[in-house]
Assembly symmetry: C2
Amino acid sequence: MDTQASSSAPAALPPADLESLRAAFSGRLITDPADQEPFLIDWRRRYRGRALAVAVPDSVDDVAAVVRWCAERRLPIVPQGGNTGMSGAATPDDSGRAVVLSLAKLTKVRSIDTINNSITVEAGCTLDSVREAAAAAGRLFPLSLPSGGSCTIGGNLSTNAGGTAVLRYGNTRELCLGLEVVTAEGEVWDGLRGLRKDNTGYDLRDLYVGSEGTLGVITAATMKLYPQPAAQITAIAAVADPHAALKLLEMAQGKLGSSLTAFELIADLCLDLVVRYFPDCQKPFREASPYVVLMETSDSESEAHANASFESLMEAAIEAGVVTDAVVAQSLAQSQAMWKLREFVSEAQSAEGKNIKHDISVPISDIGRFIEETNALVEQAFPGIRMVVFGHLGDGNLHYNVSPPVGRTGAEHEAWFLGLQPAINLLVHDAVAAANGSISAEHGLGQLRRDEAARYKSPVEKALMWRVKRALDPLGIMNPGKVLAED
Amino acid sequence: MDTQASSSAPAALPPADLESLRAAFSGRLITDPADQEPFLIDWRRRYRGRALAVAVPDSVDDVAAVVRWCAERRLPIVPQGGNTGMSGAATPDDSGRAVVLSLAKLTKVRSIDTINNSITVEAGCTLDSVREAAAAAGRLFPLSLPSGGSCTIGGNLSTNAGGTAVLRYGNTRELCLGLEVVTAEGEVWDGLRGLRKDNTGYDLRDLYVGSEGTLGVITAATMKLYPQPAAQITAIAAVADPHAALKLLEMAQGKLGSSLTAFELIADLCLDLVVRYFPDCQKPFREASPYVVLMETSDSESEAHANASFESLMEAAIEAGVVTDAVVAQSLAQSQAMWKLREFVSEAQSAEGKNIKHDISVPISDIGRFIEETNALVEQAFPGIRMVVFGHLGDGNLHYNVSPPVGRTGAEHEAWFLGLQPAINLLVHDAVAAANGSISAEHGLGQLRRDEAARYKSPVEKALMWRVKRALDPLGIMNPGKVLAED
């Protein structure tokens, strides 16, 4: 595992100085090591760090005050939302010099506008609370993640989170109309515009989105809302291989247009694992199929129309030999059962033992070839290894995960398997790079993929990124050591 | 008019040095003043400048060579596409020091991928040529502008162009997956990724998009394609005021979802002007209505379904008292006739005499109040003045134009009217700023709105923009004097 070694003693400041931080803002300042603990380790328990203190400011102005206090002392700041990130971006290093800046108390829904279809929320609002506020006003906020009850909109923006509705609604970036940001020098930039069109200068908003706290601190955002669909219908289709899944995608996009809101590929091994560890789940078809596709349509007209569209698509796909079998959910319960087959894959894979995750994307047209050739390469290099392949095919984004051979589950086997991680990562990510793909489609770089990204990015691109970093964070105090490898 | 005075003599370089430029790249170098002429004046004839030379390089590497030649000599570079911009961003100043860099020869469609739904084109491709290449492959490239035969995709990206399909497909920014850029120092950044998801660092792409050539030169782009809709249907509805138009928008978005691809507001005066100067056009309803709404639906199912959806929407809207009359086009010819009423407004207003244009946006929910109150303010301050209000209501974007009182059309009246321009701009743009709107929704800043933008942006935002500018263009040679007012 990547947990960092704790090599140097914490550079503790004299207590009086922490008192000056306490006096500088309204909010909670956590200095007791036991109380700091939950802020110093990521939820996957891959990274553990130390901090001078954890600051939990009450307001945007208090966030700015904390940043200014740190800037004056050249102390690193690690912004943190729900601490549910996948890449360790919100965990401090082990120097003990950093101030962890939690946005947990910034939880106001500042305004909601059902005609402009927008909502302005503070960074610490959980994703589910934003979805609920939208729903209460009769609107849809389409971003949806398994961690929705804990992850925050500030974290979603900082990592440009994805999810299963990207096909129709885009990534978190595309859902954002405006931002409020505390800059690296502790000033407040009010960019909270709720406009669909604004061409008055550089796109600062999209620079902060996805920058994982390395340029400034997102404190609030104006996000897009949508009408709630009249009906949502789920279906599962059996396909022989990813090429057939791509043909089905093209047919579905042609016939359903933007009503198609999810298109998820699931390899048969994923379903085997799910039904093994979740006995309430059943495989969708009597005969095993190498892959299935989970699809969702969101219809603005009616359930009957949604059903008819899906039935017509599936008939055409079966007739064309693209799909070997298909089932359209006839009830909410059936829909939910289908989604569980997708949602439980990660957990089932964890129950099976240690695993190695990749969050990759390639051009959608290349995904069939990529899976075939890369599966073959991995299986040849590491005989018996199992590929747990599933993900957002409609976005070209796969969770291209790896499990050890059947039966190799003891502690000794685990050490052997995790020892393969660098070699497997290299093989998979080299294949991604050769396909002009991305080694982090929706999880960000944080510390997990920082050095690997540096391997694949061109010198020109790395130099441009460093120029942006130095321009917006001239003191280098915003989440140092994340995203950018040393210049 | 804003045509700049020509005050200083051109700082001509010794001929030998232009010979070194000629030797530095493959392509055309235009030094003859008469041949340069079309590159030195914008199409609206508001700006005229001078240039050391006009370079028309043959390839991306030649673009980079021209930029490096200029960088070595600290000479300004003015990138130019189809020279159809609305804000003078592509016209050099009158110093005569600049090299105009035309992308006109970079016209390759490099690749098209109907499964990935993407097309990679060079910057000098006209918008219509991109649309045609997509259509030939059975796909839709949704950006559409009246200048499509002349404007280039590089220019569309540099200004983040809008148009009538933004409601469904977004601005040019949202249509872009990846860029190739020659940096301000003459290096080539290959960011031509055709991915829907890629979270591996800062969003350089969106920084170059909309930066109007002030950070680097866009030389190619990978753009999104969409399935072609099965049917497109147009309708016009009569509404009493913009508030009713907003109610109709909400009903249409609820019932049609993302099939709704256009929602344009047109004030009755616009229709009067169109039928006066285009005798083939007719007003859509016998009884005049203060406003009409032009709507378009793009249906993935069938023409019959599109028609039924529209008829059902209009019936509900009439029943609810939101719409006083409505007509759904029954043929392509009827659709085209309806669109002409919208497309000819600008030309009809020009035929009526000089006019003052504003390209503004406000939150959609505020647009009714904005029009009422701002119309009243302008009419009170300048009695007899006529408001020519039309635009993309679904995006909150109005072309909020002003014409002189009836009958005041002679040269003397024109001078009087254009003398009012600063005061009218101030009044309108102050009202926009008070509504947290944008003074340039889709036309960019260029030189036309540069100083006005500086009036409304916060010091924090201006400082961030200058930091980005200095980071990516440290020599200050990329299109100086555009977008950013002096620091």
